[in-house]
């Protein structure tokens, strides 16, 4: 029960030594730590913590080495064809290099702009890049991830239109609609499904939420659906894949009101699902209903350009229960990765990348489509993901693939019969694709 403050061995993360602690306690005017803890019910003070003893850094590295070794990844010889919201892309060295700069990594949210111009200017660049990719007027400095960005966009549409019914296209990833559900559950919002080929929607919708490329990898007719929404007084909320924007028309061209995206494909490791960053852009008219942090350009008392958080009156720390969102800590550092990524690839790189993904995925689809028993189910144009209808249950096929060190596509038989959602990016070589196709053909109906 006794305090260990005076006797604990020094730890590399804790500089104070026994004698310094004693000196400080003396200055405080107490002779033990416990004197400072009197507000804490005595019977609950200093509970036993059933945790292991601390490890040295070398031991810690060994522990993590084993953990990492229990996972199958490219470095352990696996190839993978999973997508569905998280994508394998080559990350340029510039991204990792800049990400190592402690001045970015270990700073807080830029509440003191004079001491955070680095973070702020990068955030402004991020907003610019999001606008450029989407061709939208304004963007915020990032959301938690793609699905929360989509959910908040739909809620924002409800605020803007003052309507409480949200339409979501039926071809949308369940991860988007599920998050929307969890985000809207107690806000009196009703969510309705809208068919992709709908020509008619209820006239009380706040928005149509559209994913394009959709969950199945296909490009939706955003232009038509946006017009349909607008004709019915609803907004159009479009969730895009930013890599596809290197090739396909941007939502901004179609008068879309709010655009969201998962930023992960832009230079962020898959990392078992996070952290990622949600991209969020909208029309300038709706700016004051935007959730999230926003960085603005201004001048200092000497007339020099500088950047600062702005429109903070939307935010929780000022507006509290009437804020546009509860977001506080967001995803600034992931935004940095996206920014460095986009700056590195640049105009030509984003174009080349999208083209490469498209070419490889279409090659893979064509080869798989030739196989007995397999067919590619595609009604329109897909980008780098497509649905394969398999000759037997996708989980069985995946199990067989795994034995060959291949992580197959996602089992989506709940949404498409015997369906497997396959993704191919620039990180798959032709040899990888051929290996996958060969394995599929060997497995075939036998799985």
């Amino acid at each position: 029960m006794a305090s260990s403050a005076h006797t604990s061995p020094n730890h590399p993360y804790i500089p104070s030594t026994d004698s310094e602690r004693a000196e400080m306690l003396g200055a405080i005017g107490v002779d033990s730590l416990d004197a400072l803890l009197e507000d804490i019910p005595a019977q609950h003070r200093h509970p036993k913590l059933n945790l292991a003893a601390g490890l040295s850094e070398q031991e810690l590295s060994t522990v993590f080495g084993s953990i990492a070794a229990e996972n199958a990844s490219p470095s352990s010889g696996y190839i993978s064809f999973l997508g569905a919201g998280s994508y394998s892309h080559y990350i340029p060295s510039t991204v990792r290099s800049i990400l190592q700069r402690g001045e970015f990594v270990t700073a807080y949210t830029p509440y003191q702009p004079e001491a955070a111009q680095g973070t702020l200017q990068v955030g402004f660049e991020f907003q610019t890049i999001v606008c450029q990719l989407t061709e939208m007027e304004v963007a915020n400095a990032g959301m938690y991830d793609g699905p929360t960005a989509f959910a908040e966009a739909c809620l924002m549409a409800a605020r803007v239109t003052k309507r409480t019914k949200i339409g979501v296209l039926s071809s949308t990833d369940k991860r988007l609609s599920d998050t929307l559900l969890a985000y809207s559950k107690y806000q009196g919002i009703e969510i309705v499904e809208v068919a992709a080929d709908a020509t008619d929607i209820p006239d009380d919708l706040a928005c149509i939420g559209i994913q394009s490329p959709n969950f199945f990898g296909e490009i939706e007719d955003v232009q038509r659906l946006t017009k349909l929404a607008h004709d019915n007084g609803a907004l159009s909320v479009v969730h895009v894949n930013p890599t596809a924007l290197g090739m396909f028309k941007a939502p901004g061209e179609f008068d879309v009101d709010i655009v969201t995206a998962e930023g992960q494909p832009l230079g962020v490791p898959m990392a078992f699902g996070g952290p990622y960053v949600g991209l969020f852009a909208c029309k300038k008219a709706h700016i004051r209903q935007m959730p999230g942090r926003i960085i603005g350009r201004t001048t200092d008392t000497k007339g020099r350009t500088g950047y600062a958080l702005t429109l903070q009156t939307r935010e929780q720390h000022i507006r509290r229960e009437r804020a546009t969102s509860n977001i506080c800590t967001s995803t600034q550092l992931i935004g940095l990765m996206v920014t460095v990524y986009a700056a590195t690839l640049g105009k030509q790189g984003m174009k080349d990348l999208a083209s490469l993904c498209y070419q490889k995925a279409h090659y893979a689809a064509a080869e798989i489509n030739k196989l007995d028993g397999y067919s590619v189910k595609s009604s329109g144009t897909f980008f780098h993901e497509f649905v394969v209808t398999c000759p037997s249950a996708p989980p069985k096929i995946n199990e067989a693939l795994l034995k060959k060190k291949i992580i197959g596509g996602l089992d989506i038989s709940d949404r498409s019969e015997s369906g497997m959602l396959v993704c191919v990016t620039e990180t798959s070589s032709k040899a990888d694709i051929d290996r996958f196709v060969k394995a599929l053909s060997e497995i075939g109906v036998s799985a």
């Binding site: 305090s3 602690r21 804490i40 003191q112 990719l133 500088g306 800590t329 640049g346």
Partner: protein, 488 residues
Amino acid sequence: MTISINAGGVDRRLLMDRSVTGRKAFTLPASDVPTQNLPDSSLLRDDVELPEVSQLEVIRYFSVLSQLNFSIDTNFYPLGSCTMKYNPKINDELSNLPGLANIHPLQPDVTVQGAIRLLKNLQDDLGEITGLSGVSLAPLAGAQGEYAGLLIARAYHDARSDSARTVAIVPDSAHGTNPASAAMAGLEVVTVRSDDQGNVDVENLRELANSNTAVFMLTIPSTLGLFEPNILEITKIVHDAGGLVYADGANLNALLGVVKLGDLGVDICHSNLHKTFSTPHGGGGPGSGPVMVTNELAKFLPKPVAVKTDVGYVLATPEMSVGSINGFHGSFSIAARAYAYIKALGQEGLRSVSENAIISANYIQAKLRDKYDLAADRYCMHETVLSAARQKKRGVAGLDIAKRLLDFGIHAPTMYFPMIVDEALMVEPTESESKETLDHFIAVMRQIDDEVDSAPELLHDAPHDLPVTRLDEATAARKPVLRWSAEV
């Protein structure tokens, strides 16, 4: 502290201002597959307007920008409520191991046993630390942890058909995310007063707690850096009224091995891995805000929860889960860092973290109390809330003091929060700063107090030697410029 190595100021032009047609920083490999047909050209885009710069320009641009920041790695950063402690470099490294960074969130469980085991172990450790054994690592930040916790509270009442409970009682000292999260959860926010000691006004609470009470949200220690002495009474009042007690655990850095929230009657809490558990703040995220609950509430946790079964580790969805609050499984690589931190410190080390954090904060408080008012005149926990009320009377605001600190290479304390304290300056030194650094801070704060009388203009115009002086935030908000454009 760093210093200028250039006259004439930094070149603040944006990437687009530096862009030259045809320049590049990267090349994609040539395609190695036969050429495929392109889709209808009506679908295709001409060009994406993006910067065209060389690789060196990318590196130099961002390297130079980074130097414009204060950060833990370069500055003392006593920002209250933010726990700006040392972010161990080894944790960044370990979380970037290819076997952790390059795994897809939808890989079959058998191929990610290490990853799920890590999550399970971290859940267990957080459960042990807080005394609340149901843990989900899904929330992506503290605010999302709050929201998840409130969803759980609502689901709990719903499951008991007690759905009329639509009120969240929140102290006036609460962080803004508390009421904002409550509103998202469809709860009406009712404020409970703090008394003159900074404690919850128990009588006021007793009046407010009733059959409408869904949850009482308490920050422990409070945003005043104080431990609530009536905590047991408070949790009893709420429970007696049929409500649940939610603890905002953003300040858990004070409590490791010192007290367990679960022992105090807390039902639900969140913790910020990006505070107590040393994961880097990144200039504003990413974070991770795990939610911890009692055994009874565990079935409502957001998905996924890592579970150990006979066939190995799996990611499961609790029986009556409140659902998916984001895309995948939370901030995995942040969780990995936090796990590394806990393993490096162990039970002894974690306790030492809190003890030293508490001693450091009280030391600063003791050494400054003759010059600055205290929000509450008692021992604090891991942070002390000063008030610049006395200085204000002498013509200098808390803001001026905060800005003047920047001139000394010290990041400003949290200003004007909690809102109930006049001219609040919330100082959280953390356990990872040396006594020498604290003494330097104390000396500077005392000097600044002198300057209030001797050289007030130094404070009014501060900061002086940073990349910018004070910014015109009003114009920024009135005429927002939020992106580069050719004209700006």
